[in-house]
């Protein structure tokens, strides 16, 4: 049950060959060197995937998607990550694309989906608000009908990739009458509209790819709403169901863990050896490897069966905490070389600290950035509440 079928193994080899031969080498090189990718890098990467028909990973075949089984999707993700390829920016392809495909109008499908696949448009996600983090039901962002338009007002926060995005999809309150979760609609807006202001947020790792976005009487046609009014909560849950394992990133975890051993072989240890023979490091490394092996088995079990809310919540906690543990081990391994805070947007970034292993500053920034994993997408605390409700329910 945990093993791949012969067909799946063949697919795996096909994907592996693709990344080795038909994928932009400069993207892989930059990732390996710890350099931050540009928008153009992502466009190059997406176009290579799209040329192979492999960009619409969670989309049905009839709108240009791959139509993969969950396991095929998993294999693809893993190989992408093993290859150090660019992660697919999820906002358009993973998050909104499948919702448009399932609930969008014909016009939305014809206009928006091809633009995404052809990398003509990038999207941002407008879910969180300053006063509504894990508590999405208390959204304040409003969409008020005015003839054939909605007038949007409010603030969205933690919007990632807003500096590259052309469009944003927003959860917006279209009614205050119903229960808190009801009365929320899914409405899209071009980010260039008057009344929209994007404020980049600088994060503790030095990046500024998140933003706070203010909407001040922004007017969009009601045809920009996806699906029915007041049904966004339902759509968001459908998305959650199909995408709840997309954060698993087992491949990148395995890759990063393996890379730590390579790095360790280059770093001096106490006495005369290198860190790959340091027992404390190796034990800590093996402990995470063991954990990751169990998490991978859990993911495969889940992919081959039905996934309950509790299981999804448990896997979200396990995957994100494991990712954090890997970055924690990485900074432990880095030692003092994690101390410099360097700007990694240029090719020769590592020259700024010539006496330091470049691995260190990358590890440090990853460690800081990955702290967000247990906060966004439903914090660990919220996931635990979900699991508890399921456990208490079973006990009854």
């Amino acid at each position: 049950m945990l093993k791949l079928t012969p067909e799946e193994v063949a697919f795996q080899e096909e994907v592996r060959a693709f990344f080795a031969r038909d994928y932009p080498a400069h993207v892989i090189a930059k990732n390996k060197a710890g350099q931050r990718l540009t928008k153009q890098d992502h466009i190059d990467a997406q176009r290579a995937l799209n040329a192979r028909g492999w960009l619409g990973v969670g989309w049905p075949r009839d709108v240009g998607g791959t139509g993969w089984t969950p396991i095929e999707r998993y294999i693809f993700d893993e190989e992408l990550e093993f290859a150090h390829a660019a992660g697919i920016i999820p906002m358009a392809v993973i998050y909104i694309g499948p919702i448009i495909a399932a609930f969008g109008s014909e016009q939305q499908k014809t206009e928006w989906l091809p633009a995404i696949l052809e990398s003509r448009s990038f999207w941002a996600q407008g879910y969180s608000e300053p006063e509504a983090g894990s508590d999405l039901a208390s959204l304040r962002f409003s969409a008020v009908r005015d003839g054939d338009d909605y007038i949007l007002n409010g603030t969205k926060i933690w919007t990632s990739g807003a500096h590259w995005a052309d469009w944003i999809f927003c959860l917006a309150r279209t009614s205050r009458e119903e229960r808190k979760q009801q009365g929320i609609s899914l409405i899209c807006a071009p980010l260039g509209l008057p009344g929209i202001r994007v404020h980049p947020i600088r994060l503790i790792d030095g990046s500024d790819e998140l933003a706070r976005i203010e909407f001040d009487n922004v007017r969009v046609p009601i045809t920009n709403r996806i699906g029915d009014e007041g049904q966004a909560w339902h759509y968001a849950n459908v998305l959650l169901k199909t995408e709840r394992l997309s954060y698993a990133h087992i491949g990148s975890k395995k890759r990063d863990l393996a890379a730590l051993l390579d790095q360790a072989a280059k770093l001096p240890a106490r006495g005369s050896g290198t860190m790959d023979r340091d027992p404390a490091f190796r034990f800590a490394h093996a402990r995470i490897e063991a954990r990751l092996a169990a998490i991978e088995a859990s993911i495969l079990r889940a992919l081959r069966g039905e996934i309950s809310m509790a299981t999804a919540a448990a896997l979200k906690i396990a995957c994100t905490e494991c990712a954090q543990a890997i970055t924690g081990l990485a900074i432990d391994l880095a030692g003092r070389s994690r101390l410099p805070m360097l700007d990694r947007s240029v090719a020769d970034w590592a020259d700024a600290a010539p006496a330091v292993a470049p691995f260190g500053p990358v590890a440090l920034q990853s460690y800081l950035f990955e702290r967000a994993q247990t906060i966004y997408g439903g914090s660990t605390e919220v996931q635990k509440n979900i699991i508890w409700r399921a456990l208490a329910g079973m006990a009854r």
Binding site: M1, L2, K3, R277, P279, R282, F283, H285, A286, R287, E289, A290, R291, A293, A294, I295, A297, S298, R301, A310, T311, A314, I317, A318, E381, K384, N385, I387, W388, L391, A392, A395
Partner: protein
């Protein structure tokens, strides 16, 4: 090897074992195997794991891992396998070694037509109940060999019986010039090391599955207890701090379950992959046993400390599994190749 069970057959096997153990909380091995008719299942790790999980859930005293491991060794050595209803157990541990078979000092010397065995074996599970003992000993070329001893042969064997923490019967064995016939040697002379390594991994997969049953039950008992125990005017399960800790227990239980699968499915892999998977599984199982066991007692409060409730007995069986063949550090070292 039998063909893998279908999903429906797996459920049937599980239900049959569960039903049997629900009716008899002190089953005898003979009856258990005989009445359920599951003797053949012992040589199949997948079926064994299903049975082991139920044994754990019910926390009954049955030598499943011991008998299955001995049967597998005998089968592999083309030695006659006793009926599954008989109890056989492997004696490997010694006071002079921690967990590595390489440290075995018990020695078998050729003596005329037979062998003479000399050495000490520590904490041999079910030795006092066994119809047959398998003993790992060093032979001529300094390699390891396996010997089979019928329980009738007591000359030159000093056996000190006691119960282990999980209430299982066990014994220390001291062989003093213990005479064995020629055919007591099973399998290749000096060629038992790889067999023992594989046997250990197979035993561990079964114990991992048993731990899954134990841990699930510990969580269930804890949720049930905290739901009825009232303090400060409400059931203590109403306190969010306790809820989140029970969720942490659940997370360990789920990873333990995946770990057991991982171990069982890896048994047919090459030795390096098998070792890696089984040791990874056992690191997680050991962690889960420790965390879930400690939390179960803590959340039961004083009642968790008493021998009256099942909880402590489950915890102690989990503690035995944690260290039965090796501990977490040994497994970590094996994963790290240190």
């Amino acid at each position: 090897m039998t063909a893998p069970l279908s999903d429906a057959e797996q459920v049937m096997l599980r239900d049959a074992v569960r039903t049997y153990l629900a009716k008899d909380d002190a089953p005898r091995w003979f009856d258990f195997i005989d009445r359920l008719g599951i003797g053949r299942a012992l040589l199949d790790a997948q079926q064994g794991a299903i049975i082991a999980e139920e044994i754990g859930r019910a926390r009954v005293h049955l030598p499943l891992a011991e008998v299955a491991t001995a049967a597998w060794l005998l089968d592999r050595c083309n030695a006659p396998v006793p009926p599954a209803t008989a109890i056989a157990t492997l004696a490997w541990a010694e006071p002079g070694l921690r967990y590595d078979f390489a440290g075995i000092e018990t020695r078998a010397r050729r003596n005329g037509d037979g062998w003479r065995l000399e050495g000490t074996k520590a904490v041999v599970d079910w030795a006092t109940e066994a119809d047959a003992l398998l003993v790992a000993a060093r032979t001529g070329g300094d390699g390891l060999s396996l010997f089979r001893i019928d329980s009738a042969r007591t000359d030159g064997l000093r056996l000190s019986p006691y119960r282990t923490i999980d209430g299982h019967p066990a014994a220390d064995l001291i062989f003093e010039d213990h005479a064995l016939p020629d055919d007591a040697l099973i399998g290749p002379e000096c060629g038992a090391l790889d067999l023992l390594e594989e046997a250990r991994d197979r035993a561990l997969a079964l114990l991992a599955a048993e731990a899954v049953g134990l841990l699930d039950s510990l969580l269930e008992q804890t949720i049930a207890y905290t739901g009825q125990r009232r303090q400060f005017g409400q059931p203590i399960a109403g306190f969010q701090a306790l809820q989140h800790r029970m969720v942490d227990m659940y997370l360990e239980c789920e990873l333990a379950r995946s770990s057991a699968w991982l171990a069982v499915e890896a048994l047919d892999e090459r030795p390096a992959a098998r070792a890696r998977a089984v040791s990874s599984a056992m690191v997680n199982i050991a962690r889960a046993c420790r965390l879930v066991g400690q939390e179960a007692i803590q959340l039961h409060g004083g009642m968790g400390m008493t021998d009256e409730l099942p909880i402590g007995h489950y915890v102690k069986r989990a503690m035995a599994i944690e260290v039965s063949w090796a501990d977490s550090d040994w497994h970590l070292a094996r994963i790290a190749g240190l």
